[in-house]
């Protein structure tokens, strides 16, 4: 019966694993909803922000802010990479990093240098091992990230852009499509890509207090911050969704493993009984 006992221990350990994965699955399921609420709550701000910037672009024709002007030569590119703090969320981070790294490599092949800021523990862990220049990082944002936690890393990049150290800024994050789908996304933050509501001219202009440059600088900085914040929230929702799916798969696999192990266990038990009977019968016959 030695084999049977080993199998029984194995079944018990798989059972315990299943308990953990089940718990993680349910925790993530409830956290997704909260993350989605956060995403929804921050949407009016970015919508209003876009409107204001749209109006500004329509109104103000004589002054062009550097954030809106495409630079001719690109010598250095900045990346803001948003990852999760914890693992056990399937291929979420891996897919994102693969995409980010291949994008970074294409720049490096062209002789363009790359600066990074990392948001989230996983990105920090990976990129400190690679040959890239990490200029800022922030980790452990928690379940309710706040824009105050992100100001630092964003300012590092915005200063680098205004100071001419970087000529372009990219944002890398997981876009939450729905619970089953998360898309790794690379967006261009700076210079702000021209969109339909950022084009065109109008005859009227705002009254600016104190002056157009300061106001535009302020508005654009806040806009970039809100974009990064929104991306952090998307990434958070993606993390929980991916973890829920991964843990559900793990629980299902554990159930399957337990089923087949039970079958093996029963067979071993049956074999042991049969053997014992035949030994007894053989012994009786010999007597």
């Amino acid at each position: 019966m030695a084999g049977a006992r080993e199998i029984r221990t194995k079944i018990k350990s798989v059972n315990n694993t299943r308990k953990v994965t089940r718990a993680l699955e349910m925790v993530s399921a409830s956290k997704i909803r909260k993350a989605q609420d956060l995403m929804r709550a921050s949407r009016p701000y970015s919508r209003a922000m876009r409107q204001v910037i749209g109006h500004l672009a329509h109104a103000n024709v004589e002054y062009k802010h550097p954030f809106l002007v495409e630079r001719e030569t690109i010598k250095r590119v900045g990346y803001v990479i948003i990852s999760t703090d914890r693992g056990l969320c399937g291929g979420l981070n891996t897919n994102l990093f693969r995409k980010a790294i291949s994008d970074i490599r294409t720049w490096q092949d062209k002789g363009v240098e790359v600066d990074l800021v990392c948001i989230g523990q996983k990105a920090v862990q990976l990129f400190r091992r690679l040959k890239v220049n990490m200029v800022g990082s922030v980790t452990h944002l928690g379940e309710r990230p706040q824009i105050a936690q992100l100001i630092g890393v964003i300012k590092v990049m915005l200063d680098a852009y205004s100071g001419g150290q970087i000529d372009r800024l990219q944002l890398v994050y997981n876009d939450f499509v729905n619970t089953m789908t998360q898309r790794s996304t690379i967006d261009q933050l700076l210079p702000l890509p021209p969109s339909s509501d950022l084009a065109g001219t109008h005859a009227w202009d705002y009254l600016y207090e104190p002056d157009p440059e300061t106001v535009l600088e302020h508005v654009l900085t806040r806009y970039i911050e809100s974009l990064v914040y929104q991306a952090v929230l998307e990434n958070l929702a993606s993390e929980h969704a991916a973890r829920m799916v991964a843990m559900k798969a793990a629980s299902d696999n554990a159930t399957k493993a337990i089923g087949s192990l039970t079958l093996v266990y029963n067979k071993a038990r049956q074999a042991a009984i049969t053997q014992e009977i035949s030994e007894i019968v053989g012994g009786a016959a010999a007597v």
């Binding site: 701000y45 970015s46 209003a48 409107q51 922030v138 824009i147 100001i151 300012k155």
Partner: protein, 140 residues
Amino acid sequence: MSTIRCDIVSAEQEIFYGSAQMVIASGEAGELGIAPRHAPLITRLKPGQVRLLLENGEEQFFYVSGGILEVQPSVVTILADTAIRAKDLDESAALKAKDEAERALANRADAMEIAQAQAQLAQAVAQLQALEKLRRSLKH
């Protein structure tokens, strides 16, 4: 009676949406009272109160720690900051982010040690497994 639509939002939530007779806020250049059909205006806000005179004559107050006020003839949009912002504070936040990155990079030595330890652990486990196998084959 004419009213103006007012929309107060922060990056983290929508704070107010509705119509008002007048919006009073403290802009960078001074107090502003925005009535309907105000000329288009955009300004930074100082930390302070935003006062709304609602349609039914009631007053409502909000505190903003800075932000942007945009006026269109029929709409007032206030993009409120949630965090307390000042140039020095922002600078120190940026420095902190840089420090954190440097610390992460400085820990690279630790990561190497961890990798080494992991390799040693893997070796030890392999040796143990070999011993276990040997023991079992001796038993039989």
